[in-house]
């Protein structure tokens, strides 16, 4: 055997060819940058800052990814971690860890400390399909947790890193209490690691949709929860949005940098405009239908990409299956009184 103890090296060609995976370039995966995309994102970032109140040099991942108020909101709730570690070339700060019952989002800011680091980031974003570092997440027993690590170049040269994990049958809330070890293994940041505890720290609300389906909302996601995988998959997702309380919509629009006039104009054109804004956040470009962040949507700078939410139905134990959709904005649950599924209003 070529590779000792690798019994799969003995597999027949027919089985290898039969199982050939779909090529990745066909998939609508999470945020992967091209050079052009990075440039566009930089412009978008500048626009957001012009409208915001914080200087560009000092913002962290929460402001980049959400809005200029996010840090203040998260700080007031005691959710900013602000733990910094430094390698020879980078300073990385774990800004916040947001967790509800089903997902956890860790947000970090990596600051290049020299020209070598800056060139490294540029080269990775240009040539490495948007991937910059190698990140590994493990539970308290050292078992690897499936996570997505996503990279966004800020216009000031910093790099925003968002690591998203979903709880499932194996990595459940009790395992979460033992913490997640996030380790960087890339040479530029090798040895840097953060231990964080994705214990639920976000409020949530639920609303029953049918006998076997419940919708779950937190500031960072909408989850469809059901007693069977088939039922959850069937409900899927129909560009949901919210029943806003008075003033709620205006506060939301402010957070995503859209004026009321622009909102009204867009809603006349497309009844799903608002729900896309919830899912895709402030980087969504309605004209080009491209976005950065949100519910598993890639950033496609060229051409029209029909944006569709992506999610997986997972068994989380206790007879529950869950399908998760991330928000591209930080939603204040005090501003909403229910969800709108498709066009159906479902109050809490």
């Amino acid at each position: 055997m070529k590779n000792e103890r690798d019994i799969m090296a003995l597999l027949d060609d027919s089985y290898i060819l039969e199982a050939e995976p779909v090529q990745r370039k066909q998939r609508k995966r999470k945020h992967r940058f091209s050079v052009a995309a990075a440039a566009v994102a930089a412009c978008l970032g500048m626009t957001a800052i012009t409208a915001g109140a914080v200087t560009i040099m000092n913002r962290n991942s929460t402001e980049f990814f959400y809005d200029s108020q996010a840090e203040e909101i998260l700080e007031s709730k005691g959710l900013m971690v602000s733990e910094t570690q430094t390698s020879k070339h980078f300073e990385i700060t774990l800004d916040t860890v947001l967790a509800d019952d089903y997902v956890c989002r860790a947000m970090l800011t990596a600051r290049p400390l020299d020209d070598t680091a800056k060139s490294f980031v540029e080269a990775c974003l240009a040539n490495n399909n948007g991937r910059v570092f190698d990140v590994c997440t493990k539970d308290g027993d050292g078992n690897r947790i499936l996570s997505s690590d996503l990279y966004y170049p800020d216009s000031n040269g910093d790099l925003v890193i968002v690591v998203e994990s979903a709880f499932d049958y194996f990595f459940n809330q009790s395992k979460a209490s033992e913490g997640i070890e996030l380790t960087f293994t890339s040479p530029m940041v090798s040895g840097l690691s953060f231990k964080y505890y994705p214990k639920k720290n976000l409020e949530s609300k639920t609303v029953k949709y049918s006998d076997d389906i419940t919708f779950y909302v937190s500031p960072i996601e909408l989850a469809t929860v059901g007693t069977s995988e088939e039922a959850v998959d069937k409900v899927g997702f129909r560009w949901s949005t919210f029943m806003w309380k008075e003033g709620g919509l205006d506060r939301f629009l402010e957070s995503v940098g859209i004026s009321r006039e622009e909102y009204d104009k867009q809603m006349k054109r497309n009844k799903w405009f608002e729900s896309r804004l919830v899912m895709l956040g402030k980087y969504w470009n309605a004209e080009k239908n491209t976005s950065l962040g949100g519910s598993g949507i890639g950033f496609y700078p060229e051409g029209h990409m029909e944006l569709m939410p992506e999610g997986y139905t997972d068994f989380v134990g206790e007879g529950r299956f869950v399908r998760v959709f991330w928000f591209g904005a930080l939603i204040d649950l005090d501003d909403i009184e229910g969800i709108i599924y498709g066009l159906e209003e479902i109050p809490f």
Binding site: A19, L146, S190
Partner: protein
């Protein structure tokens, strides 16, 4: 140009064989390497090495499927490269590969230098894989030959991650029982 025509180019020592093979199977081989190495530059180097290895080995080799042949070489080279880069490193850079989940299924007494023993194991492994239902087989091969992430397999098969994990767990258990029944000491 089909695979066999390309093999003929190798046989006649026509240097077009390399460019044709790269054009037709380069993307496929790169995806195989990328799943293992997680680095575009390393994966590209690995594909180049695989093509050169094929140039050295054809002839005398005459693969029925050039695609699978190149894919297998690429996979082996990528694993070698990964092991070499891990050598001497402890901790950092040593996350387990999917294939490590099968490490306890390689017969402990197997003589890897013995063609006969390998041939018998090959026969039994493929009989087992052939006995799986198509979905379980695809999941098993994608995980342990292509080294895909659970989430990728789930997405491409259109099922949940938990279902993929359960299928893999069951298939590994079945394979263990099967090999034991066939007299292998695991």
């Amino acid at each position: 140009m089909d695979g066999q025509e390309c093999v003929e180019l190798f046989y006649t020592r026509n240097s077009r064989a390399l460019s044709e093979a790269a054009e037709q199977y380069g993307t496929y081989c790169k995806s195989v390497a990328l799943n293992i190495l997680r680095s575009e530059p390393d994966a590209e180097e690995c594909v180049n090495d695989a093509l050169m290895r094929a140039w050295e080995n054809i002839p005398p080799d005459r693969p029925d499927s050039l695609k699978a042949y190149l894919g297998s070489i690429t996979r082996n080279l990528a694993l070698d490269r990964l092991r070499a880069s891990r050598a001497g490193k402890r901790g950092a850079g040593s996350e387990p590969l999917p294939i490590d989940e099968l490490s306890d299924l390689a017969p402990s007494e197997l003589n890897v230098e013995s063609e006969l023993e390998l041939s018998e194991l090959r026969q039994r492994l493929n009989a087992f894989v052939g006995s799986l239902d198509p979905e379980s087989r695809a999941i098993f091969v994608r995980r342990y030959w292509y080294m895909q992430e659970i989430a990728e397999i789930a997405e491409q098969c259109g099922i949940g991650k938990s279902k993929v994990k359960m299928r893999l767990l069951r298939t590994r258990s079945k394979l263990r029982e099967y090999l034991k029944k066939e007299g292998y000491d695991l």
